[in-house]
């Protein structure tokens, strides 16, 4: 459903979909993103690793304009991210986001959570939105929960609903901001499994995560963040088996 290009094309010959050029961000006087450069290709899965407080969550939130940047340029799907609300809204239409704390709307049923944006932003008829929502719920494995409220679901189920909600807008890019960090250990796997199946579907994904094995398995490229800058970028095997940078080695030695 997301195939808009030939997924057989090697990554380096595909079009760029997210381009971050020298982005800088400060929280007050704290310099949290320092000259970050990253280009993501269509259909690529990029996992972003790094110690907590390294700026990786802030970085992924700049991509859909949830965090403003003070310097640099971001282009998403050909649209330059500016302060203009219509640009930001156009980008947000094409980027779905899954949060650490799910952020489902507690006063709406699961089905309403998923169909709200397609009906009001994409202007789909209700029947179409509901049909697609049910397909997505099938895909994440919980169609029977459609009429419940988020508070009645387990954490893992809520996060799977959040993924379905992001997918319902049929975005070109999915952003995951530590999708499993708020989950109990036994629920992490069910969410990661859903994300893995998506990784094979051709949608572009940027995933901030602490799950090393998962990153190794699904990522085309891994980005290592520390102190607000990108330390090292490479394929999983390059980065895990043959790290070049000392700080990468230090980070991996602490985790693995």
């Amino acid at each position: 459903m997301f195939e808009e290009f030939n997924s057989e094309t090697p990554l380096d010959q595909r079009e760029d979909i997210v381009v971050c050029n020298n982005i800088n961000k400060w929280f007050g006087s704290l310099h949290v993103l320092k000259d970050v450069n990253l280009t993501v290709k269509q259909g690529e899965v990029v996992c972003i690793l790094g110690p907590s407080g390294s700026g990786k969550s802030t970085f992924i939130r700049t991509v859909n304009g949830l965090e403003e940047i003070q310097k640099g340029e971001i282009t998403v799907d050909g649209i330059p991210l500016s302060n203009d609300l219509s640009d930001i809204e156009a980008i947000r239409k094409e980027t779905g986001m899954v949060f650490q704390s799910f952020n489902l709307f507690p006063h709406m049923t699961i089905l309403k959570n998923i169909t709200l944006a397609p009906i009001w932003v994409r202007k789909w008829p209700k029947a179409k939105a509901e049909k697609i929502a049910m397909e997505l719920l099938e895909r994440v494995g919980i169609p029977e929960q459609a009429d419940k409220y988020p508070g009645q679901l387990s954490g893992g189920q809520q996060q799977r609903v959040a993924i379905a909600r992001a997918l319902a807008m049929q975005p070109k890019i999915l952003l995951f901001d530590e999708p499993t960090s708020a989950l109990d250990p036994e629920m992490i796997k069910e969410v990661l499994d859903v994300i893995k199946t998506l990784a094979g579907s051709g949608i572009t994904m940027m995933v901030v995560t602490h799950e090393m094995n998962f990153a190794r398995e699904v990522a085309d490229r891994i980005v290592l963040f520390d102190f607000g800058e990108i330390i090292e970028v490479g394929s999983p095997s390059e980065l895990f088996d043959n790290p070049k940078h000392d700080r990468t080695k230090l980070f991996l030695s602490q985790i693995l």
Binding site: E89, R92, M97, N103, F105, P106, L116, A117, W120, Y149
Partner: protein
């Protein structure tokens, strides 16, 4: 092993009843009322006081009170000086409300049903009072019959919820037109409106209009546009810094001065505007509390989905904030309902004002107790119905809360 033996041993002791003094009525009395000599003295003293109060109150209510003051002035207390020959208009408005209530009872059941039953009970009580006019009795019986008939009708019309809601919204302008005439009937000036009718009208207008105004003020106060924000802050702080009675005086006495001669706004309308503006400022602060209780993640999730500011506010933020502050808002509404009695000070004759007028009539000298008790009873019944509805609403909206 030792444990097992212990258990067996315990079981082998036959069960016996506890001592008589520790259970039943006697036990409860001993435990709660006579547990020490100090408590015994307190029980006796307060028991005597309560006994005297209850006996004297009952004696007063049933044998000494001059209830004829209520029966003789019942019409005045309810509708004030509203002309008797035009009263049918009030009754038509009432009947329309009964019709809607009956239908809503049939459609929604639950809370709406309880409230309708309460209203029906009030109708029945009023209709069975010995002193009411035969006409009143007929109208009330018609209303009761209508409520019951529309209840059964409403049960079958569950698909027409939307139209019933529209009906409720239309009810307000229809009532106003019926009561004041507006060309259709003879004009009845608001100076003739009075009694409980006036109390209800001022309260309903203030509640209905201050709610949207309060929502806008609360949103405006959080706006990023400085002009909007500072206007809302200034308005809210100004109104909250001034007593309600001052606002009423300004509306009644100073407004005509500001507007100059020639512009004449009706007294009752002025009071309604005063109450609405006053209530809106307090509501805005309540609602702002609700807005602040929404976690940032909700805003971010809505934004990340591409919802614009209006959709985000209408679908995500407001529903959650309003639900969070229902108790505070209903508290405010009940407060406004009771505060309407202040209009008596600026010369309008609401329920309390009418009561005071009646007392000052030499014919009914010395009947304050009866009149004020009656007024208090009316307020008590309606305020309790409001808070009951609020509790039920909260419960109904609490489905699947976090």
């Amino acid at each position: 092993m030792a444990n097992d033996e212990l258990t067996t041993k315990q079981v082998s002791i036959p069960e016996t009843a506890p001592p008589k003094t520790s259970i039943g009525v006697l036990g409860w009395l001993k435990e709660n009322l006579f547990s020490s000599w100090i408590n015994t003295i307190l029980t006796v003293v307060f028991g005597t006081i309560v006994y005297l109060i209850v006996v004297n109150t009952i004696e007063w209510i049933f044998f000494k009170a001059e209830w004829y003051v209520i029966s003789a002035n019942f019409k005045l207390l309810m509708v004030g000086q509203y002309p008797v020959e035009e009263l049918f208009r009030v009754w038509i408005a009432f009947t329309l409300i009964s019709l809607l209530m009956g239908l809503s009872w049939g459609i929604w059941k639950g809370t709406m049903g309880h409230l309708t039953i309460a209203m029906t009970a009030i109708y029945i009580i009023v209709a069975s009072l010995p002193f009411v006019l035969i006409e009143t009795r007929i109208w009330l019986l018609v209303n009761i019959a209508l409520i019951i008939a529309t209840y059964f009708l409403g049960k079958r019309l569950t698909k027409f919820k939307k139209y019933i809601l529209i009906g409720w919204f239309l009810m307000f302008p229809v009532t106003m037109i019926l009561l004041s005439g507006f060309g259709v009937f003879d004009r009845v000036g608001t100076n003739l409106w009075g009694g409980f009718l006036l109390t209800l009208l001022i309260a309903i207008v203030a509640i209905v209009f201050s709610f949207p105004l309060g929502v806008l003020l609360a949103l405006g106060r959080r706006s990023k546009l400085p002009v909007v924000k500072w206007f809302c802050v200034a308005y809210i702080e100004l109104i909250r810094g001034v007593p309600l009675i001052t606002i009423l005086f300004v509306a009644q006495l100073m407004l005509p001065m500001f507007l100059g001669e020639g512009v004449n706004i009706d007294n009752v309308i002025r009071a309604m505007v005063g109450f609405t503006l006053f209530s809106a400022a307090y509501l805005a602060e309540n609602i702002r509390g609700g807005l602040q209780s929404i976690p940032r993640g909700q805003f971010e999730a809505a934004e990340a989905l591409g919802l614009n500011a209006t959709f985000k506010t209408v679908f995500i933020i407001l529903p959650q904030s309003l639900r969070a502050v229902i108790p505070a808002m209903v508290g405010q509404f009940i407060g406004i309902f009771k505060d309407t009695s202040l209009v008596a000070i600026v010369g309008l004759t609401d329920l309390l004002g009418m009561g005071k007028n009646i007392i000052s009539n030499p014919e009914f000298l010395g009947t304050q107790m009866e009149v004020f008790l009656f007024v208090a009873l009316v307020f008590l019944v309606f305020c309790n119905m409001m808070s009951y509805a609020s509790r039920r609403l909260e419960g109904a909206l609490g489905v699947g809360t976090r």
